[in-house]
Symmetry: C3
Subunit: 353 residues, 3 copies
């Protein structure tokens, strides 16, 4: 275990020579396993766990040396103290679960069209289609049934899971990971309405993902009307997220599940959209802006500000408003009491509650 601890710059409390066979959840871990505790809310499970060793912060560590597990009650447990157990997990898991290697080469059922260039170290899976003039970089993986239109680029080491679609001209940077069902480069939603008829504005721009972007399953990123829809390096996008045409997203932003961004908005670096959040069109969210779950940013937001609500306001204001809203019945009673006190005629008002 000492070597694992060294790798995560952790400090061992207990037996540094313990052998770790795998990493498991608190529930599934046994004496040969390493588990982790990264939040006080799971303290009880950690105490009850039969895990032989735990990744844990110094603050949560006290009292965890002895397992309360029925089967392991008498057994001592070892701890690896780290500043961030989740980060340690990110560092250690690949040792126990290396990503399955993909054989270089093009599957015989895959179609690589004229003028497409696939690096000999890349993997193209069954039934994949690589369109004319597209390029797949060194070590990239294009899995089964994934379709690249014409003139796409897939960067070095990028990984496209099965059933991804890249429309013509899409660029996926090095080290990106695109999950199944994600659609990059579909037409933006743009129409000119004239006498009740919606005439399509051709969408002739493209989508560019910079390096190390992850896109979740069944998310959609529309091509620009003109120019580019762009997602900055290191930004991570969850499942079922919608990114409208001409949106610009900065670096290292986080878009959680089912979030959506309407056309032409600009998000800075390190922006966080929580689950099911929405951002209106033509807005600017500065660096570090956070939009709370289920909230809708309908105006631009200054850098560093966290907003919540529909329409979203500063989180602090929204929290206060939520509490005040829960007091409306009380306000009504106080009004009635004041009116009685002042001798104001109640009959004029309807009291529906």
């Amino acid at each position: 275990m000492a070597d694992l601890a060294r790798l995560v710059e952790g400090q061992v409390e207990g037996d540094a020579d313990r052998t770790i066979e795998s990493i498991q959840t608190l529930e599934l871990a046994g004496p040969q396993d390493l588990s982790f505790l990264n939040h006080a809310r799971y303290r009880e499970q950690a105490e009850a766990s039969a895990a032989g060793a735990l990744l844990v912060t110094p603050a949560l560590a006290p009292g965890l040396r002895r397992s309360a597990s029925a089967s392991q009650a008498s057994q001592d447990r070892d701890l690896v103290l780290v500043a961030d157990p989740t980060r340690a997990l990110a560092q250690l898991l690949p040792l126990f679960h290396p990503r399955p290697a993909r054989r270089p080469g093009v599957h015989p059922t895959a179609i690589v069209e004229d003028g497409a260039a696939v690096d000999p170290t890349a993997h193209i899976g069954p039934y994949a289609v690589v369109g004319q003039g597209s390029r797949v970089g060194a070590g990239a993986v294009v899995e089964a049934h994934t379709v690249l239109g014409e003139s796409c680029e897939v960067g070095e080491g990028a990984f496209l899971h099965p059933h991804v679609v890249l429309y013509d001209g899409t660029r996926v940077g090095a080290g990106c990971e695109i999950h199944s069902g994600a659609i990059l480069g579909s037409d933006g939603f743009g129409y000119a309405t004239h006498r009740g008829v919606h005439q399509k504005v051709p969408q002739v721009g493209r989508v560019v993902l910079e390096n190390e972007v992850e896109v979740g399953a069944n998310s959609t990123i529309d091509r620009a009307t003109l120019g580019e829809t762009r997602v900055g390096a290191g930004t991570k996008i969850d499942n079922l997220v919608q990114v409208g045409h001409n949106v610009q997203i900065g670096r290292a932003s986080i878009l959680c599940g089912q979030a959506g961004i309407a056309g032409s908005s600009r998000l800075g670096d390190g922006v966080v959209l929580a689950g099911q959040a929405g951002v209106g069109g033509h807005l600017t969210l500065g660096d570090g802006v956070q939009v709370a779950a289920k909230s809708a940013a309908l105006t631009s937001v200054n850098p560093g500000v966290t907003v919540a609500g529909i329409p979203a306001t500063e989180m602090r204001k929204w929290r206060r408003e939520i509490v005040l809203r829960s007091r409306l019945a009380e306000f009504n009673r106080r009004l009635s009491e004041l009116e009685r006190h002042a001798g104001i005629e109640e009959a004029r008002r309807e009291d529906r509650i």
Copy 2:
């Protein structure tokens, strides 16, 4: 018609010997057709319908023996009285519309990789891919273009529509039905953020669907970081639903369209998430909890409680608050009147409404 009535434990009012040729909507049904009325809101359409027979509750039946249809005005109509017309419909429709049979066998264009085992009574459609070590059970159907990764299991009689993706290790129980575009086992959304860089936490768990689960089109269920994301037997999931990593869902729950559950939350048995509802991460929703449409459960909810709003509170409280919110202009007027009455200076306040 007597045999149909017997099958649904219904009581015929009228001609039990009437021949029923098909089941139709109230609008489309003619004298040879059976239709149904399961809610008072469609009473008028039922009266106007030319349907020769109706499945209806005893409470809604009176007055429906005679059709008010222009074309059928003079015709008597027969009724089949049942406690639950929708249930009767579920029982009768398969007689008139048996599910199309799929030929057992593997389509010549399908790819079954080494060590995969397909039961001889199963159907594997065109261009489907069954990965190494995966198993497809008796009578199961894997339709066109569906991709099973490595070491997946598809239970007896399960039905996977075209364009489903199962990532490695996914288990689909017996009798499950998975609609097109559903992605099971995609990576959970987990990162350790260190100095502004989001480092991926490898997602090495899996997804398990117990028996008789239905998953709607383009829904996504993420694999666990470690361990399992699990959906209990008989749970039904609509389209475009997101289920985060490590979520545990009990038996016979209902997740309506575009609902979403953030990571590690636990839902009990018989939980209902209405359309576009959201559930935050690391929460517990007890058995029988219901979350109203467009609401967001951001704290845990006790068994049997129905919640609504953002953040969700008890439905009763939320309803009251909605009414009170609509009275805010009135509250403001009453405050102003009291202030006038008390001689309090109005000028100090801004009155923006």
Copy 3:
């Protein structure tokens, strides 16, 4: 440029003989390019743009003849005055970006099943599947991996992008465009619950798209239980939209990204659902109804009315309520002052804010 101006019924201010090489965004356009300004919010970018010519409304035109671009500061710019620059864009872009032609014919890897009829001028891409008895009309395009079930119809000139799925019996009208990952005809979400078990109500109806409908990437439209789910001519649907079973949508409606409609609701002509809006089941939204972003129409709405909020009310009322909600702390202070003034005991109330 004179010919372009004529095409859009625009009036040239400046050099009508200028040569236009392409249409570009304000940021990317150079002296040989035409760009456009359709909203005052982009005035500054328009001034700074190096575009040689601009499509602009007469109202926004004054002062734009001279570019403020650093590189082009001394250069005059030409304007094309039009009533609707977006419409002009829709008219001109196809000249510069004609849709890539698809070769008529069936790709050798595509599967056209028995009794299917593909017009000789249609294009069927690699690995596409056209099920038994399906028909693909003249000039229609069915791209790679798209799957048509049995007895589907694809109208003249319709364009199905890669990875679309049509379940059995789906009809797609002439001139429709269906983006990747869209699923048409998946089962509606209908169960009869009896003693805690959800028994599936077979969904045996179908989906009909009238002519010139567009459906965005990964959107889902469920088949009817009986009869039809129908989308009227010229209606445009964005990405990740859910349309429930038996929904009827009128002509020229607009459903923005991630909007959802529960089963059996009816939308009139020219209805607009903004992003992430929801519509409950069994409701009627009259012609021209608009539902604001992130709002939920939970009751029927009369023609021409714009609603917002959860539950949605008239936009005007909702706007007023939003302002009043932001004044709740003020209301509380005013109540306290009145109570002090009246000598009412404060101790009885809790003051949590």
